[in-house]
Subunit: 698 residues, 2 copies
Amino acid sequence: MTVPDLDPLLRPRSVAVVGASLTNPTNVGSRTLHQLRRFFPGRTYLVHPRATGDGTATDLASLPETVDLLVVAVPAPAVVPVVAEGARAGIRAALIFTSGFAEGGADGAAAQEELQRISAETGMLINGPNTIGYMNLHDGILATFFLPQDIELPAAGPVAVVSQSGALATYVDELARDRGITPGWLVTTGNEAGVTVTDCLAYLIERPEVTVLAATSEGMRDPQAFVHVASRAAQLGKPFVFVKAGRSAAGMAAAQSHTASISGGDDVFDAVCRQYGVLRADSLEEALDWLSVFQTQRRLAGNRIGLLTGSGGGGVMMADVAHDVGLEVATTPETDQALIEQWIPSFGSAVNPVDVTAQAIASGVGNYQRILRALVDSTGFDCVAVGSGLRGPQAVEVAEKIAATYVEADKPLVLTWYSTNQDSRRLLVDVGVPTYQDSSRAIGALGALRRFQEQQANITAEPVRTPDPDRAARARTLLGGEPTLTEAGAKTLLGLYGLQVVQESAVTTVEAAVQAAETMAAYPVAVKVLSPDLPHKSDVGGVHLGVADGAGVRDAGEAILAAVAEHRPNARIEGLVVQQMAPSGVELVCGVHRDPIFGPVVTVGLGGVLVEVVADVALCKAPLTMEQARAALAEVADGRLVSHSRGITGEQADAIAEIMVSLGDLAVELPEVAEIDVNPLIVSSSTILVADALVGLA
Amino acid sequence: MTVPDLDPLLRPRSVAVVGASLTNPTNVGSRTLHQLRRFFPGRTYLVHPRATGDGTATDLASLPETVDLLVVAVPAPAVVPVVAEGARAGIRAALIFTSGFAEGGADGAAAQEELQRISAETGMLINGPNTIGYMNLHDGILATFFLPQDIELPAAGPVAVVSQSGALATYVDELARDRGITPGWLVTTGNEAGVTVTDCLAYLIERPEVTVLAATSEGMRDPQAFVHVASRAAQLGKPFVFVKAGRSAAGMAAAQSHTASISGGDDVFDAVCRQYGVLRADSLEEALDWLSVFQTQRRLAGNRIGLLTGSGGGGVMMADVAHDVGLEVATTPETDQALIEQWIPSFGSAVNPVDVTAQAIASGVGNYQRILRALVDSTGFDCVAVGSGLRGPQAVEVAEKIAATYVEADKPLVLTWYSTNQDSRRLLVDVGVPTYQDSSRAIGALGALRRFQEQQANITAEPVRTPDPDRAARARTLLGGEPTLTEAGAKTLLGLYGLQVVQESAVTTVEAAVQAAETMAAYPVAVKVLSPDLPHKSDVGGVHLGVADGAGVRDAGEAILAAVAEHRPNARIEGLVVQQMAPSGVELVCGVHRDPIFGPVVTVGLGGVLVEVVADVALCKAPLTMEQARAALAEVADGRLVSHSRGITGEQADAIAEIMVSLGDLAVELPEVAEIDVNPLIVSSSTILVADALVGLA
């Protein structure tokens, strides 16, 4: 995938605004031009039929240069003519604020299609319509109307935020800065007639000043680009946080009526995020919680967390959360304990959680700072979480000490600051201390960092396999015009892709059963009656298990037919089935289906009688690597399938991963295969066998 | 259980303070006396050897009356003598602020035991030591030192908060008031030498001015009292929110070192909360989120939520959360849609989420208020969630409209207000609008209300069964001195409590097998070889299933012995097993274990080969009612065991609930039974059979 060059749109050297008023400074165009002219060092033009003077033009044709970016804030009916004129004049990018397009009825949708056509034909980059624009603070560009007119240029930090929705972007902007998060980029895309959220992400992930990427979107227009961005983020070691609106049926319904986008399975999106290392947040608030930590660019050297509290109960709660998010509440090294104990009362604790007690703080904040410093400097901890709830003037004093210690340290540190004293909080967030009102969120953010680093460590450069057209051609001969393959056909197809299948044969006579058993040569076998009238074959003597040779098959067949004739004389008997005895083992399900957004998806999960009740399945987008397959398998049953002694071994996991990769290859090579359902896949000590399989064709 | 009369402690008519300084107004005793004297209409005394004047005494003996409450703020070594003197003087309650007791070494622990002894012998109510006291705002009592000295008397609302930890109580106090939550009671208990968190809860739940109860604790000293409070809360229809510190192994370890309390299984505590309708919050922040809604005392008449937003993307996110928490994003009734459509642009939506668009707000807040009013008044919605993110002066204007509409309405309404404009936020919380920064938390709080009401509806007055001493005596004859019952003994014991068990018999000859089969009269049966050397009996012809009569058993027995002799001539053959054929069906596990805190617990979950991997078990404290058993069963596999067509039927669920209740009866009647493990319990169309069971004795 080539990275879209969005420079004309997002890093223009010159901008023309159409739709700014000569008289009304509060209209959208005027507000935007005002903001652009305050900090942007490039050239700006007001385009208006009655405009005069420097930096104005009466129409696009009379501009003194071909500007990079055209900002459009005219009423809806005038938008298409203006954009078309701009494209004719060679302008390479347009930012369209005007609403009332695809989101507002048939006329609007037609106009939006016209914009899409212009973009497709001329290559013009179109952001919007119905966008609120963007902020590129690194270059002083406030190409938006939503900010207060007298705002100072906000600080440009390492975070880049992209949002389809303008309102959600303003939420992020308002709350992020309140918390000391400093997005250097904030880009909205609105109706996406041209440029999409993923286009912007693909552009921004390559920007050197961007080290954290965050995005929210209601739809997923270009899944391949999303995967590309995720892969690039992983390669570059930049956390990529995504909040997807439209997780649930209710949310998807709202998103469809709102953006007319199609939606895929949320479980598939979730799986794709994990597969490619995207950190999916459940809410914007959670995303902001994480960004506070990610933007510091501090990293964990291990999972040990030191907890500092003035309250025993608070320390217990912090330990709970640390455990929840996979951090270890390690014991304070003895030398550090000795150090700390000289500064706390005997009824405090230096062990971890380090409980300085309320008295230690009351007796002077100097010791408090020394204790915090001891934790931050300790070789026993890879990160530190501090909880404090002081009020009054001492809050500011303690905040100053924490801020000073934070700045000098380089370990990840989070702070739960439940004083509502705004001065003390401001002081902390202004120096970048990740500061929260609740320890579950503070330590949860460290947990996100841990997860990011763990995913990073697991993402390998392993390539997916190249499709094999010869194998695909052989397979295609098996696929008739029927919607579903026969069971035999399904097993042959799977065999072609390297899966081992249980052999079986349905016959009409005892002699044929003996012949079939000898041919398959997979003793011991089971011999069963074949009858539509006997659902419980065992109860009427219709099943013999563990038959060891041909003579045994003959005896069993005769005994079965006799027993059935005696117990169920009226049952229709169609013959016998000879079946390879599947060794006993763990029963899994494995399969393929196609997601409307992301295409072929491989599934793996627990099988057995209660498969639908257990409903524990992990997913992986195809094509997939062995590493990705193993990671998906490691999610089944909260990890217990691979970690519990009654689960599967490492070798079995590798063999199952190989099957998953092969099913993914099959799905990629044969688009006409709509779904595959292997149930059960029997995992025994010696083999991994497909006992039954269903293949549905498109 | 009798409710402890805490009036002398928490509603005293007179208070004496020992430990206030005559010269230092900032010491703990002085601060407390100052606060008491500001608002408390009762009589207060400063007790100090050199004190003179009105409202003082030189020692406890010279007080002009026997006060209700003694406040102790003397150094640790002086505490026991002062309390003992108070008890001798007939004072009925003591509040001890001093630290350094059980939390601070052997001397402190001994002193605390002395306090416990005084409490036990004299009946004196002891709150503390190491407590920060309490606020009873209904009676103007600030019996605490932690508040600013010039604080105005906070508003007394319907919420009562009880916390073991003082620091967590100050957290709640600070943040609750910031959010417009007005606890009328805030009680801390510290080291709990006498009065515990549950004592206070048992007292407060009966107070008429208290309609919402919230508590946090690191330990659980009196589980029976906890269950009592939960039951009373349910009876009285008062929500009871609990945050337990010490959920995880790491948290429990911290709690044990901090409070020396024992801990039980967190899954058991969780189950007890659900069983008795306690709303367990994961964090203090979540508890506060819920209290904002609960304190309004507005209730849901149904599950339909109306969503009002100015942003399509925001509406999608709100719909997601609503779905997550079990609220239905119902379509706006047509008449209301028509009403709303006149006030929004054509590219908005009146359907639900109702998207007024940013323009509608910009064009005047009057219409915004009308739309909100339409939603609140609509017969199509049982509650309303509003999301808004305005800034600048309009934020205050919109906030005023929302506040006015809220006050006039009686439906539950929550607000996501992501403006950081503090004036607008203050205005909203001051009239009681539940206000949040993120829609996931706002709508999550409505979800907690839904859950509370649903639990209320399900809590019945069904009594638990009376123990049956005769049955217990009969059962006791089965329990020998061994640590584990034999399988036969276990099955007999379970049979005595009404469970149906699979019959089987081990014999040494073919003739004895025939005899055994005839005696059990439960055809069809299985005949199997009994040998320590043949783990895979089926593979060597050692199993015949579905044997229909005595003659068949003889044939099967002979065939088995012949086949085994042929295939495994060296295997030791001990005989044959004749076993009732368990019908095929869903395999569950069911059992009993004993929690260190809550005692006997009944478990039920999914069985099968992967039982440890699936690890999906629901719990219920014994004794239990049928309703409680059914509710626990309905949690298995996220509800799919009872709701999915491949799961169990309603009749089967009732029968399994009956088994759970019986196992609970057994556990209550036979304390010497340490654990029971029924695995599998086979649920077929005709019976529910114990196929195998293990009974461990204490």
